[in-house]
Symmetry: C2
Subunit: 232 residues, 2 copies
DNA sequence: GTAAAACTAGACACAGTTGTCTAAAACGTC
DNA sequence: GACGTTTTAGACAACTGTGTCTAGTTTTAC
């Protein structure tokens, strides 16, 4: 896989974001350009220019376009993954107001995992190149943001165990929660425009309200919680 | 816009799917290739080959690549649009079992508008080329499947008027309904694999069940309908 | 300060694409 | 069968992109 004459300095730690400023700069520029133009449309010259680096330097570090592409994908996925788990850890152990806590959580999730540059990049790339690079898709699913689903499912299982939610199928609930959060953002995210903070807030509120109407634990009397039905 | 020496026969009715078999064949092949490779990655040679037509014929009909691309987009959108309205018209005026009717409706919608070749093409293209061709995105929204939302909202308004649903914001409910239907299909549709008929059925059932838990009209007693809570 | 490593700029061969052009072939119609 | 149109196959110029090479410059490390 790795050619012997990679002139990459001593610090050739695979694609892990390591040391060298140029390497980093190339990675970032490449992410930008690949995202804008797709794999076929992106040219090494453009990437080099955006990274303020000579074309030869790009080739020194990444040997060929294909190689650079997979390095970028790995890098973005690593970052997205770290971000995801940092956000998951913010959910309070004992939520005192489930609706507010879930909404705040949803805002963080959509702001930092879905609507940010990395989220956009991954969505676009998996969509347009996923068929051509099946391993890309698989990586996205198992090791990248595709994991959001399983992580969320675990969170919901915890909440159900505390009798705060009433859920049969945790994975399904997780998928639906994400889908609902996305429902109001799709237009923005499809187009590429970053939604405002207000839009994020609204989208989260709408999603959580509907989600809780469907999944909030019923009170002991068996009817839906008064607070949820009251607003209608 | 239109060059005077378009050698297109007498039947130059813009891009409306008209007459000439070659023209049709080119349009279909181009849709296929653009979808697979994106705009930059698709070559006229490949399109011509897939259409079983000489390259020159492609140029005779569509003058240049850009032109062919927009013709394909228009064509696919027209078809998707027609399909959407044909499906909307199948929803019964007086549903006797809302859950079943909505589920059947969701199956038809996802099979024929979301998971089919045209749906895939449009999603992929809007996603990857929407930023470069803003008019494409705008067209998709106003004149293509972006309209599903408003059409659905109208349907839900009707159902709410008949006291079958209890909805504040019809547009929101429509977006959420679509999002829920997509929730289980995203993996398949992202990857490009056609889901099986069973998967469609399941996705629709899951979506409708959650949707109705959130939006079904409460019975006169004020509690959620017994049938909906019973299953849990 | 010096030597090794990293970087730059430019030229280069090669391949692929777009869009044009031409002459010959196939087609449809009267 | 003859005419006009459509289609084809191939050659073509212009361009763009990839990946290599070289020679010179800058940076870094000792």
């Amino acid at each position: 896989m790795r050619s012997p004459n990679d002139t990459v300095p001593k610090t050739s730690v695979h694609s892990q974001r390591g040391q060298c400023a140029k390497r980093l700069s190339i990675l970032d520029a490449a992410a930008e350009v690949f995202c804008r133009q797709g794999f076929a449309g992106a040219s090494i010259d453009e990437i080099a220019a955006e990274a303020c680096v000579s074309r030869q330097t790009v080739y020194n570090h990444y040997r060929e376009k294909e190689n650079l592409f997979t390095a970028v994908v790995e890098d973005v996925m690593d970052r997205a993954n770290a971000m995801l788990f940092s956000i998951l850890s913010t959910f309070p152990e004992n939520p005192d107001n489930l609706e507010d806590d879930l909404a705040a959580f949803a805002v963080r999730l959509s702001r930092n995992c879905i609507c940010n540059q990395d989220g956009k990049f991954l969505r676009r790339l998996v969509q347009s190149e996923g068929e051509r690079y099946p391993h890309l898709f698989e990586a996205w699913r198992q090791h990248g943001p595709g994991k959001i689903g399983t992580a969320l499912a675990a969170l919901f299982a915890r909440l159900a165990h505390k009798n705060l939610l009433q859920i049969d199928d945790f994975d399904l609930a997780a998928r639906q929660f994400l889908a609902l959060v996305n429902a109001d953002l799709q237009m923005s995210t499809l187009f590429g425009a970053k939604p405002t903070e207000d839009e994020l807030e609204n989208a989260a509120r709408n999603a959580v309200r509907t989600f809780l109407r469907a999944y909030a634990a019923t009170t002991s009397s068996g009817s839906a919680p008064a607070i949820l039905l009251a607003g209608r």
